[in-house]
């Protein structure tokens, strides 16, 4: 079975610090995507960053970057210069194809709090 594991249920850092959220996954797919989603208190799930497994270069979106280690099946998210608005639940997800549908398997989530 495909699994995604986020080993940090909660994290807390001071504003402007850098924080790294961990994620490991297990997949039998050869070509797949990995995602980080953010869910603020408003509950709307927002795509933060996406990585295609065949690309060796780590994805970056402004203050958000990933450390993708394909052999180790690790996909961590780094948030630089953290801001109060980064406070949210963060979910790591791995892509899988079932019956032609592109399905995502999610981790348990990490609750991140940015303190002023």
């Amino acid at each position: 079975a495909q699994t995604v594991t986020q080993s940090q249920p909660e994290m807390s850092v001071q504003e402007a610090e850098t924080v790294t959220l961990s994620c490991t996954y297990d997949t039998s797919e050869n070509n797949y995507y990995l995602f980080w989603y953010k869910q603020p208190p408003s509950r709307q799930m927002i795509l933060v960053i996406r990585q295609e497994a065949y690309k060796q270069q780590n994805a970056t979106e402004n203050r958000f970057s990933v450390n993708f280690q394909k052999a180790a099946k690790s996909f961590s998210l780094k948030i630089s210069d953290s801001q109060l608005g980064d406070t949210a639940m963060y979910f790591c997800a791995c892509h899988k194809v079932i019956q032609g549908a592109q399905k995502l398997v999610f981790g348990q989530g990490t609750r991140l709090t940015i303190n002023p």
Partner: protein, 115 residues
């Protein structure tokens, strides 16, 4: 602006009631999904659909059914609501891979309480 709209933000239902959760997307997406979200468990897939009138069971389909009569609408049905179905329900949609899958677009969730 693309959207996935869930008809209710909050719902309170009684045990044994039949409950309908509606989801509509305006992006011409092939794939649609229903997840439930519970603390410490993340998002778990209930059902998904990759085409009109097609449906597939996810990881936790027991106690649920779905309907997809039109491409843009995917309904989740609780045939006889029970208290253990109290949860946050998230609908999502996506393109198929050959049309450029890039992840899901989510609705804003329905928090269902069964009393």
């Amino acid at each position: 602006d693309v959207k996935v709209t869930q008809s209710s933000r909050y719902l309170v239902k009684r045990t044994g009631e039949k409950v309908f959760l509606e989801c509509v997307q305006d992006m011409d997406h092939e794939n649609m999904f229903w997840y439930r979200q519970d603390p410490g468990l993340g998002l778990r897939l209930i059902y998904f659909s990759y085409d009109v009138k097609m449906k597939e069971k996810g990881d936790i389909p027991e106690g649920y059914s779905v309907s997809r009569e039109k491409k843009e609408r995917f309904s989740l049905i609780l045939e006889s609501a029970s208290t253990n179905q109290t949860s946050m329900y998230l609908c999502a949609s996506s393109l198929s891979r050959h049309r450029g899958f890039g992840g899901y677009t989510f609705g804003s969730g329905t928090r269902l309480t069964v009393v």
